[in-house]
């Protein structure tokens, strides 16, 4: 593919050169948002963590995001009295070779001066990013690609999800790193999944992650198999789950990772998104964008998002490619959709041809082409409290 990436000091390559403005508590959110709005630059994105007391998960996520390969520079917005270790986060960004500035609103003298200082910081950091940019040839083997689904319907399991599975096979064969998740929607697939594990330790980790998801959903009282599923033709829990699981394709599963853990070698990974410990409240992820943010924290350069009824979201930092399996959604919401897997229904496409189209679009987007959600200005971001134990050593592939 004909693409140039942005080389980072850790050897990873970005497909974008984004300046992120990150608020470190909700109290700094407004000033940060104003800075991004007034900068009026599509390459300046807003991210942040709203809590006053970040836990380990939030700290790991923010560290992973400020050093994401698509990020070239960082402006931190602090109120001043929140507990986030802003010096530590700034040092992490600086040590990763990225220009960084921190605005403390209480020291700046309030909202107005923080916004003015922030806008000047954006200008300086942008100039430094331009000086530091190192462009290098980019290959599919440099890419980390995630997949999630949202707004699924009866077409998702027939067209969009298996087509993404075909694309994942092509990407893995080209040396890319691919990540799938939503263990809570794969209950009943642990048997076939474990068979695909590259090592016995990874097989054990897969089975344990699904058992954890099952316990979590049962404790919360969330059933997965609903009457509407049966009307749509699904006959069993494992059939419904297989429709989500098929996004993973058919290649060996080389590792199981948790949010903010980075794959250490190419291949296909399962991202375990269900919190560890006692189930506490709500769904493991508060919305589809929380899943995308976790994918990014694992290094995903872009996300393949399958939808039936039609999600419109994009993301800060990493482009989102939306694949709809429903031809009606393509007709109604084509402005928001990148790939029409629904063309399989009229015979003008096949699972294999859509899979190849997805890979071609991944290459184009990696080379700089805008996705529909990028062009529409979608820059969603959400980060909340969750908790995880670190993964065991057997969860990663063995690297010679």
């Amino acid at each position: 593919m004909q693409a140039q990436g942005y080389l980072r000091t850790d050897g990873r390559k970005g497909i974008r050169d984004i300046l992120i403005v990150a608020y470190l508590v909700e109290c700094a959110h407004h000033a940060a948002r104003r800075i991004v709005d007034l900068a009026a630059d599509p390459q300046v994105h807003l991210v942040g963590f709203p809590g006053c007391y970040p836990n380990d998960y939030a700290k790991r996520m923010m560290k992973a995001l400020v050093s994401h390969p698509n990020v070239g520079g960082v402006v931190l917005l602090s109120l001043g009295c929140e507990s986030f270790d802003r010096e530590g986060l700034a040092a992490h960004a600086a040590n990763s070779g990225r220009p960084v500035e921190t605005i403390v609103i209480q020291q700046a003298g309030g909202t107005r001066s923080a916004i003015e200082n922030g806008l000047q910081a954006v200008k300086r950091i942008k100039a430094e990013m331009a000086d530091r940019a190192v462009r290098v040839p980019l290959f599919l083997s440099d890419l980390v690609v995630g997949t999630i689904c949202g707004g699924s319907d009866g077409t998702s399991g027939i067209t969009a999800n298996p087509a993404v599975g075909r694309a994942f096979d092509l990407l893995v064969d080209a040396g890319a790193t691919c990540i799938f998740e939503e263990t809570g929607e794969m209950i009943g697939c642990e048997g076939p999944m474990a068979v695909r594990a590259a090592t016995p330790a990874v097989a054990d980790a897969i089975v344990a992650s699904i058992a954890k998801a099952e316990t979590y959903y049962r404790t919360m009282g969330y059933g997965s198999f609903a009457p509407g599923n049966a009307e749509g033709g699904l006959s069993s829990q494992e059939e419904k789950s297989a429709g989500a699981y098929v996004k993973s394709g058919s290649r060996p599963i080389v590792g199981v990772i948790k949010p903010a853990e980075q794959p250490i070698a190419p291949g296909l990974y399962l991202l375990d998104v269900v919190p560890d410990g006692e189930p506490r409240f709500g769904f493991p992820n508060i919305s589809d964008n929380a899943e995308i943010v976790e994918m990014m924290a694992c290094g995903a350069h872009l996300t393949l998002f399958t939808t039936g009824r039609g999600s419109v979201v994009g993301s800060a930092i990493a482009p989102v490619i939306k694949v709809t399996g429903n031809p009606e959604t393509w007709r109604r919401m084509g402005e928001d959709m990148d790939i029409n897997a629904g063309a399989i229904f009229d015979g003008s496409a096949t699972l294999d041809s859509v899979g190849a189209d997805i890979v071609a679009l991944v290459e184009a987007v990696a080379a700089g082409a805008e996705t529909k959600s990028e062009a529409m200005g979608h820059r969603e971001f959400i980060l909340t409290y969750k908790s995880f134990e670190p993964s065991g050593p057997g969860c990663m592939p063995r690297v010679a």
């Binding site: 009866g154 699904l234 006959s235 829990q237 059939e239 297989a242 399989i344 229904f345 699972l351």
Partner: protein
């Protein structure tokens, strides 16, 4: 031409309807021709081959349950003649003691 059904994996013994398929419709699926036994809607499954009771139902190349009654090729496969084989993790653990 708009396909009536889709074969999601070469190992599958069911196909999935891409539109409403009418009773008596002749449908070719890779290696075989089947006749739809009844009218079924998009997303529902038809047997690719005759399946005896107890046979695993294979979709996406993996088992999605077992037949509880036999079905002929082209017959509708759903909850009236197949069942889930899934045993949830906590019940499996309980069975192990």
């Amino acid at each position: 031409m708009a396909p009536a059904v889709i074969l999601l994996h070469p190992d599958d013994n069911v196909v999935v309807c891409c539109r409403t398929v009418h009773a008596g419709e002749l449908i070719s699926v890779a290696d075989v021709e089947i006749t739809a036994a009844e009218t079924v809607a998009l997303g529902h499954k038809l047997a690719r081959y005759p399946l005896p009771a107890g046979a695993k139902v294979i979709k996406y190349g993996a088992s999605i349950g077992s037949m509880t009654a036999p079905v002929s090729a082209g017959g509708w496969v759903h909850m009236h003649n197949m069942k889930s084989d899934y045993i949830s993790a906590h019940l499996r653990d309980a069975a192990k003691g």
